[in-house]
């Protein structure tokens, strides 16, 4: 028995587990960036009410533990009629049902706040002259944002944005304690079945995560390089 038997004999489980992790990461990345962009537009926009709403939302949600958000959507929300049991998508051997959908909502809502903050730091990094010049040529707020400020802000916010997404990738593990058989839950199941190989199993899954994290950080690096202002 090598110390890695448990993982080698269950490679299908291992990859399926990381499949869930990766899928969850991808859909949450898209959703949280979209929601984060909306939030940052509200946050820096001219409508006072929306500015306040976005600020309050961000400071409330980012100060709430993710586990609590999961608990809310899993155990509190169904009581008041919010549930995701209608989600039933089957792709190959992957089941995307309520556990996945709930994780998606909870993670996206949570991460969007950090995305918003990352983008805001990017907006702050755009030099004032750029926005002034944009206004001078007569662009309205939407034009200033979409044509001039946000493209540059995105460039400046690649590093903090990557941090937020990497944190989210690691946070997908929380879904593992809430009904989703992703990597962390699978590690727990395997360690339970092969308790003598706990360390090996743990290292395999840790390395799985590290590889994913490194891939995301390399992608962000290549964007950073491509968009670097000469």
């Amino acid at each position: 028995m090598t110390p890695l038997n448990a993982v080698l004999d269950n490679l299908d489980q291992f990859f399926k587990a990381f499949g869930y992790t990766l899928f969850l990461f991808l859909v949450c990345a898209v959703a949280s960036m979209a929601l984060g962009a909306l939030l940052v537009a509200m946050r820096v926009g001219p409508i006072g009410v929306l500015r306040k709403v976005a600020a309050v939302y961000v400071s409330l949600v980012r100060n709430t533990p993710l586990v609590l958000i999961f608990i809310f959507f899993h155990f509190a929300a169904p009581i008041i009629g919010i549930n995701f049991k209608w989600v039933q998508i089957y792709v190959g051997s992957f089941d995307f049902t309520s556990a996945f959908a709930t994780a998606f909502i909870a993670l996206s809502l949570y991460t969007s706040c950090f995305v918003c903050e990352a983008l805001r730091s990017g907006v702050n990094a755009v030099s004032i002259g750029q926005a002034e010049a944009a206004r001078a040529i007569g662009l309205p707020f939407s034009g200033v944002m979409t044509q001039v400020v946000l493209p540059q802000a995105l460039r400046a916010s690649v590093p903090p944005l990557a941090s937020a997404l990497i944190a989210m990738l690691k946070n997908t593990s929380v879904a593992g304690i809430f009904f989703l058989a992703e990597a962390t839950a699978t590690m727990r199941g395997l360690s339970n079945d092969f308790s003598s190989q706990r360390l090996g199993i743990f290292l395999c899954f840790a390395i799985g995560y590290i590889v994913l994290v490194e891939i995301v950080s390399m992608i962000s690096l290549s964007f950073e390089r491509r968009w670097r202002i000469a």
């Binding site: 600020a55 400071s59 899993h74 155990f75 169904p78 009581i79 549930n83 995701f84 049991k85 089941d95 049902t97 309520s98 556990a99 304690i177 809430f178 009904f179 058989a181 839950a185 727990r188 199941g189 339970n192 079945d193 308790s195």
Partner: protein, 296 residues
């Protein structure tokens, strides 16, 4: 500034809440049997046995569950857990001349994954945590009893059409991550969903996310009783679980002692009384005491 205001609001809310404390009165005391400690320990146990050592020390660590109503449950403000496992544990504790109601008994919460490690390391002396006797487990720990026989069944909503495990093929069925129940329901063709605890599964069955959950019938009965009229236990038992007492494998002398205490309790009616008191309200009829397995 915004933060300061938000904090002030929070503080005001907290102070207001504390100001109102006098009027709340939630929670109730859980009844349990009064079990008196014996006082014949001076020469009851063979010198050098684990029982003698525990009786001498006057304290004992007992591993039980905290989240299974009727078997082992402890609310946020309860000092001690309650349930059938606890009642049986009290009989054993009392036999060691330790007052089960005193703080000489240290109730440790054990969850499904940590029962063996707790026993192996000696962190707990005995485990009564709906701990089914299996050959795999007996390789690493000692198990005596059983003090209860149960089997894996299915818990569904009261208005559900599910009648047996055969109706669950291809459906998502909840159980606890790493439990044998989860493996077995997968073998039966259902899609197993792993949760952190049985009560979480029950929540998800109640809100309709999962059609059913599965584990030992007595656990399900406890959950059904806690949600009377909303959940029901259906189908035949599709496994037989002998629920026993776990002890350290290196202390084989404990087996005969545990079986002795159990068989006394079977005879003098205290076992039936404990069952009636804890699982009776869930609608489980008090069965005949199970046949004890011989010690190896």
């Amino acid at each position: 500034m915004r933060l300061r205001k938000a904090f002030a609001a929070t503080a005001v809310t907290l102070i207001a809440a504390t100001g109102l404390v006098a009027c709340g009165d939630a929670g109730d005391d859980k009844a349990g049997r009064d079990v008196e400690a014996k006082n014949d320990c001076d020469d009851k146990f063979e010198a050098g046995s684990r029982m003698a050592a525990i009786a001498d020390a006057g304290t004992i660590n007992v591993g039980v569950k905290y989240d299974q109503p009727g078997l082992g449950f402890k609310g946020a403000t309860d000092d001690v857990p309650s349930g059938f496992d606890i009642e049986v544990a009290k009989l054993l504790v009392a036999d060691l001349c330790i007052d089960p109601a005193s703080d000489k008994v240290n109730w440790e919460e054990t969850i499904s994954d940590n029962r063996e490690p707790y026993l192996e390391s000696g962190k707990v002396d005995i485990v009564l945590a709906s701990y089914s006797i299996t050959e795999d487990r007996q390789k690493v720990v000692g198990q005596a009893g059983p003090y209860m026989v149960t089997g894996q069944r299915i818990l569904v909503k009261s208005d559900s059409d599910v009648k047996s495990v055969d109706d669950l093929k291809g459906k998502e069925v909840c159980s606890v991550t790493g439990s044998t129940s989860l493996d077995r329901i997968k073998e039966k063709g259902a899609k197993g969903v792993g949760a952190d605890s049985y009560s979480e599964c029950a929540e998800k069955v109640l809100d309709g996310t999962y059609v059913a959950m599965t584990t030992d019938g007595t656990i399900l009965a406890g959950l059904a009783a806690q949600n009377e009229g909303e959940l029901k236990v259906v189908g035949d038992e599709f496994s037989e679980e002998n629920i026993g007492v776990g002890y350290g494998k290196d202390k084989p002398e404990m087996c005969e002692w545990i079986n002795g205490v159990l068989s006394d309790a079977f005879e003098d009616g205290s076992w039936a009384e404990a069952f009636e008191l804890t699982l009776g309200p869930s609608g489980v009829e008090t069965p005949e005491p199970p046949a004890l397995l011989p010690c190896k």
